[in-house]
């Protein structure tokens, strides 16, 4: 075959690069293209733009003035912003820590007990996560309602005087936080019970042979065995807590005063209500960095103690 000869000569020296023949070079990029274009256009580019805007003092209308890192410094110095981040930290207790403790309590009890019908409980416990956060928020607004809300009526049966749960400066933040607990405790419970059932029973037998009581058993076997699940539960709930916008916007709009203002709410109100667009972008970027560090940190800790 005369035509094939030059081609054969060229191919004698093996394939250039380490690519099997018939696996076209560019087809991988082609498959990636649609996802990447839309992702780059509507996540990566805006992220870059947010970082850029965060370096300016801009009201969204007139020309901005260069601010350098002032907007970031403000995150620590501005009282409203500092308060918002402190509130986020407090909310972490309700979104992440409290569900985790509930989950751990259940896991500790269920360590050696096989429970039937777990699928049913799981379906019910997950329900609050499926309902739109706006609806959950409305629901709880009705429950917390001071005059004839369900909670105050319930407390009334025991002769306890009702409160203005969302209107009180001291109660508003924990009240919002408890809604977070309501939404996410199911996740922690299901994650941890699933995890605890995977711990080999021989470990518990060994612990008992060594004379460990229920509490020691929990510390020595259950807790270490759940490391991975704890990390997942904490990461997820922490991210949800930091992204919490819908709930605050609907229930309190950050009030009373700024008692329930959180970073996500600050982004919204600064960018679209009070014309501090640069500052809003800086808060958004800061939030991203914090989420990034926490996710990475929790997983690093979980891996290291393996």
């Amino acid at each position: 075959m005369a035509v094939a000869a030059p081609l054969e000569a060229a191919s004698r020296e093996g394939s250039p690069g380490e690519r099997p023949p018939g696996e076209p070079r560019l087809v991988g990029y082609l498959y990636l293209l649609p996802a990447f274009v839309v992702f780059a256009g509507f996540v990566l580019y805006p992220l870059y733009r947010a970082a850029y805007i965060s370096l300016w003092d801009w009201d969204g209308l007139t020309a901005g003035t260069w601010a350098g890192f002032d907007n970031y410094a403000e995150v620590f110095t501005d009282e409203d912003l500092r308060a918002a981040f402190v509130h986020a930290l407090i909310l972490l207790l309700f979104y992440a820590v409290l569900p985790l403790l509930i989950g751990l309590a259940l896991a500790g009890v269920m360590a050696r007990a096989r429970v039937r019908g777990l699928a049913f409980f799981r379906a019910v416990l997950f329900l609050p996560q499926v309902v739109a956060m706006v609806v959950v928020a409305l629901m709880w607004k009705m429950i917390y309602q001071p005059t004839d809300g369900a909670l105050n009526r319930f407390l009334g049966w025991f002769g306890i005087e009702g409160r203005s749960w969302l209107g009180d400066f001291n109660l508003a933040l924990p009240s919002v936080g408890l809604v977070g607990t309501y939404v996410y405790f199911g996740l922690a419970m299901v994650l941890l019970t699933a995890g605890v059932q995977k711990i080999p029973t021989s470990l518990y037998d060994a612990a008992r042979v060594d004379g460990a009581g229920p509490f020691r058993e929990f510390l020595a076997v259950t807790l270490p065995g759940l490391r991975g699940e704890i990390a997942v539960a904490l990461t997820l709930t922490t991210i949800y807590a930091l992204r919490n916008f819908d709930l605050v916007y609907i229930t309190t709009s950050g009030g009373p005063g700024n008692a329930t203002s959180v970073p996500a709410f600050q982004v919204f109100s600064r960018a679209f209500e009070s014309g501090q667009v640069g500052s809003a972008a800086a808060v958004g970027i800061t939030l991203t960095v914090i989420i990034f560090i926490i996710s990475l940190g929790i997983n690093r800790i979980a891996e290291r103690s393996t």
Binding site: R12, G14, G17, P20
Partner: protein, 334 residues
């Protein structure tokens, strides 16, 4: 039909040389077994022939055609995978027909070829099942059938029996050999099992650490191993190696001897040698007795069930015609 030729073929994965300068000619219609321990490069060689790995250097020919740059589908080959790789959601029929449909074979032809393969492999009753509903042996036959219907120039088989149990493996060994002789298609068969290699191959290529150690018929490899590696790899129990000094005999170089050439002492053997019994493997029809002599360990072969105890002394000798000599440094046969 076509033969296969490797010409100085090499494969590097980063700094690792998986296959070095492999030159091997496989005749048209020949059943060639590539055998070697894991990491010897045998599977990589097969995958380069299939077109699933790029070739770092050298050339591979199928017939007269260099296939280095030819896509797998254009090579006119069919492959049987270790895990069978059957398409789980398709019926057995569709699994067999898949490759033919992709090649735009006319429908009537597909029907005929699948029916023929199903008949030969006894799959007729299973054609409407899915792979999940098959036993290991059945799935294995479907995998063979998928290669068979393609009527390719070359069959490639990558450890196709390693997921079967021992009894089925022995049985299928014979079946594959019979099929291959019927269709008379060039076959390259990869295995780590030297028994499989010895019983199936027209010729065997022994590989080790990316190098081709020896190519030959099973008999050649057994009788005239090219070096210590081949000598030790082929045959079970393995050949024993020792130096004259270790056992107190006046023999040069490194000596290798297979168990059947090490017998309890009688006149006409080289010896007598004395040693302490380290293990006894009584298989019923024969007994292998491991004996420590100085630094060396030899395996003595005895007919029938021998009454021996570990720790006892034994006197034995060597059959002169069974001794093989190897260079102490290079390991090459002398």
């Amino acid at each position: 039909m076509a033969g296969v030729r490797f010409e100085g073929v090499g494969k590097r994965f980063g700094s690792v040389e998986a296959v070095r300068e492999l030159s091997l000619e496989i005749a048209d219609g020949e059943f060639m077994v590539l055998v070697g321990p894991s990491g010897s490069g045998k599977t990589t060689a097969l995958r380069m022939l299939a077109g699933l790995e790029a070739i770092s250097s050298g050339s591979i020919f199928i017939g007269d055609r260099v296939v280095n740059q030819v896509a797998p589908r254009e090579r006119d080959i069919a492959m049987v995978f270790q895990d069978y790789a059957l398409y789980p959601q398709m019926t057995v029929f569709d699994n067999l027909a898949f490759g033919l449909r992709r090649r735009k074979v006319p429908g009537a032809d597909i029907q005929r070829r699948v029916a023929e393969a199903a008949r030969v492999l006894d799959l007729e009753a299973l054609l409407q099942r899915r792979p999940g509903q098959l036993s290991g042996g059945q799935a294995q036959r479907v995998a063979l059938g998928r290669a068979l219907v393609r009527e390719p120039q070359v069959f490639l088989m990558d450890e196709p029996l390693s997921n079967l149990d021992a009894k089925l493996r022995t049985q299928t060994r014979g079946e594959i050999r019979r099929l291959q002789q019927e269709v008379d298609t060039t076959t390259v068969y990869v295995t780590h099992d030297q028994v499989e290699a010895m019983t199936m191959g027209d010729r065997i290529a022994v590989m080790n650490e990316g190098r081709l150690e020896q190519v030959g018929t099973p008999e050649e490899l057994y009788e005239r191993p090219a070096n210590r590696f081949v000598a030790g790899f082929i045959g079970s129990p393995a050949m024993s190696f020792f130096t004259g000094a270790e056992v107190g005999l006046n023999l040069p170089n490194v000596v290798g001897v297979r168990p059947e050439h090490v017998r309890p002492w009688r006149e006409g053997l080289i010896g007598p040698l004395k040693g302490r019994i380290a293990f006894v493997e009584a298989l019923g029809r024969e007994t292998f007795v491991g004996v420590d002599v100085g630094e060396a360990r030899l395996v003595v072969f005895e007919e029938g069930r021998a009454e021996r105890d570990v720790g006892d002394e034994i006197e034995f000798g060597l059959v002169e015609s069974g001794l093989r000599y190897f260079d102490a440094d290079s390991g090459a046969a002398l």
